[in-house]
C-alpha cells in the first residue's frame, strides 16, 4: 500500500509497510495513479501511453524505471509480513504502566474536563498512602520481566495530594533494587498549587511533567477557570516558567486543549513558544458533539488549515535554528518504535491500567468512573483477566478499517476510550479522530521533507 499527497509544494509518497518516504516530481506522482498493489511490468507501455500527452516519453520511462528499482528494493508497494508475526498476539503481556489518580478533586472547574470537573463522577476523594502502596505492589506483581515501569500521577489535580505522591515515590524507589525495576514518574498539573519546593521535587523525581495551559490568556481563561469563574492564566504562567527554567534537559510538556472557540490554535502554540516553552502539545477537545465547544465534522477544514499554518511556522522557526517541538508533529522516521509497538498502540487495559482513590482498577484514565469497565480493585485483590484479554486484541489488524488505512503504523488504531464513547466499540475507530490523526501525520512528514 502507498499513500501519496501534495502539501506545501511537496509531492510526498509513503510506502506504508516499509515506512519509506519519498519526495517525487509531478511525473512520478501521476505515474503512481496507474499502479496498484500487484503491479507488474507488463502494462508498462500502456501506462506510458496514458501519460504521453502530458509528459515527454523519455522522462516517463526514466521515472518508471526508477520506480521499478524502488519496488525491487522493497521501498515501494512492499508487503506486510508483520501481520503473521506471533508477537502480534500478545495475550499475556505484563502490565508495566499505571496511571494513579491520586486526587479525585480539583481546584479548577475547566468546562471540558473529561474527569467531570475532577471527580470522575465518583465523589471528591484523595487517595490514601495505603492504597497508593497497594497500587505499586500491584504493578510490580503484574509486570513480569519488564524492567521499566511507568507511573503517572494524575487526577483531578495531583498537587492537592502531594504528600501522598512523595510517599508513593519513596515506596516505589525502595522496591526497585529488590525487584530489578526502574520506575519513571510523570505528573500532570494545572499549576495552581505549584511552589518552589514542589518545583524542586518534581524536577528531581519526575522524568516528565505535563503542565496544563491552553495558550493565549483569553483562550485559557475562557475555560480553565476557578469555581468563582476567574481565569487561571496569571497565576500559573510564572510558575511554569520557573519550573521549565530549572528543569535542565528532562522532559516536560506544556499541554493545552483546543475547542471550537479557538480553532486558530496555531496562535496558541506560538504564544506558548513566545512565553519560552519549546515542548508543546495542544490537542483537540474530546467531547460530545452536542456541546457548543466540541470539534465537529464541519470544523475539520478550518482545523486542517490551522495544522498547515502551524507546520509552516514550525518549519520557519527550525530553519532559523530555533528549537520547538510540537507533540503531534514529532515523528522519528529512522529510529521510531518497532512495528510491533506501532500496531498495538497504547496498551490500555492490557499493559496499562488506571487506579482510583477507592482502589478501583480501570483499563485507562479515560474509562475511570464507567462501572461496566471496572477491571477489579486493589483492596479485594480482584482483577478481570478476561477483560484484559479483550483489550490485548485491540490492534490495527483487528480494528475495523485500520488494516486498510495508510496511517496504521503511525496511529496504532486510535484511542480505545474514544472509540468506545463515540462509536460504541473499542474496535471501531472514531471518525473525526482518524481525520485529525491522518492530517497531523501528513503535516509531520511534510515538515521532515521541508527540513530534509
Amino acid at each position: 500500500m502507498i499513500h501519496k499527497y501534495k502539501l506545501n509544494g511537496y509531492n510526498i509518497v509513503m510506502d506504508v509497510n516499509s515506512g519509506a518516504v519519498h519526495i517525487v516530481d509531478d511525473i512520478a506522482y501521476d505515474l503512481l495513479d496507474y499502479l496498484d498493489e500487484d503491479f507488474s511490468e507488463q502494462n508498462r507501455e500502456d501506462i506510458i501511453g496514458k501519460l504521453s500527452s502530458k509528459y515527454k516519453k523519455g522522462e516517463i520511462e526514466e521515472s518508471y524505471n526508477e520506480m521499478i528499482d524502488l519496488y525491487k528494493s522493497g521501498l515501494l508497494f512492499s508487503k506486510d509480513k508483520v501481520q503473521n508475526s506471533p508477537k502480534i498476539k500478545y495475550i499475556d503481556s505484563p502490565i508495566k504502566s499505571m496511571c494513579i489518580n491520586i486526587a479525585h478533586d480539583c481546584n479548577l472547574r475547566c468546562e471540558y474536563c473529561f474527569a467531570a470537573k475532577g471527580d470522575f463522577g465518583c465523589g471528591r476523594v484523595l487517595m490514601s498512602e495505603e492504597t497508593g502502596k497497594k497500587a505499586i505492589d500491584f504493578l510490580i506483581k503484574h509486570s513480569g520481566k519488564r524492567r521499566n515501569l511507568e507511573v503517572d500521577f494524575f487526577g483531578g489535580e495531583p498537587l492537592m495530594n502531594f504528600e501522598v505522591v512523595k510517599k508513593i515515590v519513596d515506596y516505589a524507589r525502595s522496591k526497585e533494587k529488590e525487584h530489578n525495576k526502574n520506575f519513571r514518574f510523570t505528573i500532570t498539573t494545572n499549576g495552581i498549587l505549584l511552589t518552589d519546593d514542589k518545583i524542586e521535587y518534581i524536577n528531581k523525581e519526575m522524568s516528565n511533567v505535563v503542565l496544563s495551559l491552553d495558550g493565549r490568556k483569553e483562550v485559557n481563561d475562557r475555560l480553565r477557570i476557578f469555581t468563582n469563574g476567574k481565569g487561571s492564566y496569571d497565576m500559573i504562567v510564572p510558575k511554569y516558567k520557573k519550573l521549565v527554567e530549572t528543569r535542565g534537559d528532562k522532559d516536560y510538556y506544556v499541554r493545552g486543549t483546543f475547542t471550537k472557540h479557538n480553532l486558530d490554535f496555531s496562535e496558541d502554540v506560538m504564544h506558548m513558544y513566545e512565553l519560552g516553552f519549546d515542548q508543546i502539545s495542544i490537542e483537540p477537545v474530546v467531547s460530545d458533539e452536542k456541546l457548543d465547544y466540541s470539534i465537529k465534522e464541519e470544523d475539520l477544514p478550518k482545523v486542517f488549515e490551522e495544522y498547515d499554518k502551524l507546520s509552516k511556522k514550525i518549519i520557519d522557526l527550525k530553519k532559523k535554528g530555533s528549537h520547538i517541538n510540537f507533540f503531534h508533529f514529532m515523528i522519528d522516521l529512522d529510529n521510531g518504535p518497532c512495528a510491533i509497538k506501532r500496531l498495538k498502540g497504547c496498551g490500555c487495559g492490557n499493559e496499562y491500567v488506571a487506579v482510583t482513590p477507592q482502589g478501583d482498577i480501570y483499563p485507562c484514565h479515560q474509562f475511570v468512573g464507567k462501572d461496566e469497565w471496572k477491571m477489579g480493585n486493589l483492596n479485594d485483590e480482584t482483577f478481570d483477566g478476561d477483560m484484559k484479554k479483550s483489550f490485548s486484541k485491540a490492534n490495527v489488524y483487528n480494528k475495523n478499517g485500520c488494516n486498510d488505512c495508510w496511517a496504521k503504523f503511525y496511529c496504532s488504531g486510535g484511542c480505545n476510550a474514544n472509540n468506545q464513547e463515540y462509536e460504541g466499540d473499542i474496535m471501531n475507530p472514531h471518525k473525526i479522530a482518524c481525520e485529525l490523526q491522518r492530517k497531523r501525520l501528513e503535516c509531520a512528514i511534510m515538515i521532515k521533507a521541508a527540513l530534509n
Binding site: V13, N17, S18, G19, A20, H22, V24, E59, E62, S63, E66, M67, D69, L70, G74, L75, K81, V82, K87, K96, S97, R146, R147, N148, E150, F154, T186, V210, Y253, S281, E283, V286, F327, M330, I331, D332, L333, G336, P337, C338, A339, I340, K341, R342, G345, C346, C348, E351, H365, Q366, F409, Y410, C411, S412, C415, N418, Q437, L441, A449, N452
Partner: protein, 45 residues
C-alpha cells in the same frame, strides 16, 4: 534518482523481527492523555 528522492528508507518490517520487547512507554501517557499516536515514541533498544 531524478524523479524519486527517498528521504527515508524505512525499516518497519525488519523492526518487527527484533522488536516487541515492551520496555518502552505506553503511548498515551507522556503528553496528551487523550489520544494515541505511537510514531513519536522512543524505542528503548
Amino acid at each position: 534518482m531524478k524523479h524519486f528522492k527517498t528521504i527515508n528508507k524505512g525499516h518497519l518490517q525488519e523492526s518487527a523481527v527484533k522488536g516487541g520487547c515492551g520496555e518502552c512507554q505506553a503511548s498515551c501517557q507522556s503528553a496528551c492523555k487523550t489520544s494515541c499516536t505511537v510514531a513519536n515514541q522512543k524505542c528503548e533498544k
